[in-house]
Symmetry: C2
Subunit: 321 residues, 2 copies
């Protein structure tokens, strides 16, 4: 910057003013400064600028797993929305581990992100409190924690789940295997509660960890126990369950019915296509980013609750008639 100033025959203050679009500098001065910048290939140091202004124009996003397309889509939407407001997003991968999640959150805070979007790995509120105590704007996404005091953006699957339950029961299924998420996550618990509630005593629950492998294992156990229908509570466990069903040579929906929470681009391509409960991922991501930006700008956004929808495709068999 000093070099630029020297080249243009002005002070660094003036260079800074030109850079920041202040009204002060003469068009002629501005011209000279811009020429010098161009000539020297100068690029301002964002670190220094942020240090001085205490604003990084950056949002932190901590998610459980980038390989999970559900989170990848959310990340993508967050990024789009943030970018359109001049913000950058730094993504942290927590790998469904509370410890790694905490590490990432702290790293992001150390780098002074202007705000944080968090999909908490567990419903333990201590990390959330730590962030809030630091005074950093925080919005929870997809999942919440016990006694959360910050805005939350999530999808409500209750309606879709009860509709699904009604169809399964109506089709005469009496042993319905539920491949549930971890009970210490809000989404894991809530979805399972709603579904088992609507299924009366027909549900048999096995808990997984939102990963493919656990989906296979849970499916195996449930099939062994005589389940005639499976409901996987997220797409990775759905993938695992599907693998197990195929490995056993069972036909969907003839031998067993299957429904999955979360949609995937390839679900319609299976034979039969898989019936799902689709979450509005893009909307969730955008809404979360907007809420966070609002918070950063001193407004107090409301919680956002979007609706997940049941998409019938055929993998339930007669239940879909």
């Amino acid at each position: 910057m000093k070099d630029v100033a020297q080249h243009a025959g002005v002070s660094t203050a003036t260079v800074s003013r030109v850079l920041n679009g202040h009204a002060a500098p003469t068009p002629e001065t501005r011209e000279r400064v811009l020429a010098a910048i161009e000539k020297l290939g100068y690029r301002p140091n964002a670190l220094a600028r942020s240090l001085r202004t205490t604003s990084t124009q950056t949002l932190g996003l901590v998610i459980s797993d980038l390989l999970n397309p559900f989170f990848a889509e959310i990340a993508r939407a967050v990024e789009d929305e943030a970018r359109s407001h001049g913000y950058c997003v730094v993504i942290g991968n927590a790998d469904e581990s509370a410890e790694q999640e905490a590490t990432y959150v702290r790293t992001l805070l150390d780098r002074r992100v202007d705000g944080l979007l968090l999909c908490p790995a567990t419903d333990d509120p201590s990390l959330v409190r730590e962030v809030s105590a630091g005074g950093v704007p925080l919005v929870l996404l997809d999942r919440t924690v016990r006694g959360a005091t910050c805005p939350v953006v999530r999808a409500d699957g209750s309606e879709a789940l009860t509709a699904l339950a009604r169809r399964l029961v109506g089709a005469g299924h009496t042993r319905i295997g539920v491949i549930a998420g971890p009970p210490n996550t809000s989404t894991g618990r809530e979805r399972t509660d709603v579904l088992t509630g609507s299924l009366g005593g027909l549900a048999q629950v096995v808990h997984g960890d939102f990963r493919q492998e656990s989906g296979s294992q849970a499916a195996a156990k449930l099939i062994d126990d005589g389940a005639t229908a499976l409901v996987a509570m997220d797409n990775l466990m759905g993938l695992g369950a599907l693998g197990e069903v195929r490995a056993r040579g069972l036909q969907i929906p003839h031998d067993i019915a299957l429904a999955v929470f979360d949609d995937q681009p390839w679900f319609p391509l299976l034979d039969p296509p898989i019936t799902v409960i689709a979450q509005p991922t893009v909307e969730m991501g955008r809404a979360a980013a907007r809420s966070l930006l609002a918070l950063i700008n001193g407004r107090q956004p409301d919680d956002v609750r979007l609706t997940a929808k049941l998409v019938l495709r055929g993998s339930l068999g007669e239940a879909e008639l």
Copy 2:
């Protein structure tokens, strides 16, 4: 930091030494400082530290599309490797757009990442030159550019592609539709050249843009032209092609054979499972991160060339016998 120093009755220099594990401070002083840090909940400002040390312990990774599982896996691997060396990764999504790619690269440079990993959207070397001119360590990943002067990490699919070609020809296919990547990307061009080369005059090429929609369109065109086998040059176009095949009610492999470049967890679950050329994504990501770290540490790593493998699963029909 000043507060901590005051609390512990020392100067900020001493606090800094404790923080950075210098030998100087007495165990007793160290103890006092740590206590003060704990008590005040002090966390060092990474921006200030980086400004002073000119090192951010951060790598930039610019990829074409986070929603493409191929890149998501790479990102994940890069991150793992980087983290194990105490580095953070900031991911930028270029969306297969050269312009957005350039924007992201510049943003990352402005933030003074210690090194940059780039999957170039096109083979135009100007952006690469710009980065190199800035003296920032740079490694290219998956794709290269014309006259690249920096280390490159990529997968070689030639062997797998010729093997695939041999099988298709051997099975008597005479009209083989190739859904190619953009000709201005190195991977797009090379893969297509190798395959069409080995297919003699039997190949019919339609170019897509590495996205699902273009895969459907290309497949439609090729099927209309009487192709009896399709080869999609990346997984998203493969997904599109598969959709088109299904939409027309064609049976794989009876009516048409299909092979896809890039593997996906759900390909084995289709009926029949899809034959693919699998790239070692995790190895690619790790290798790229390692090369970049080497470069940052003043070493001069060699190019890395890993091997993609043909995985036969059944979607080629008799060609797989």
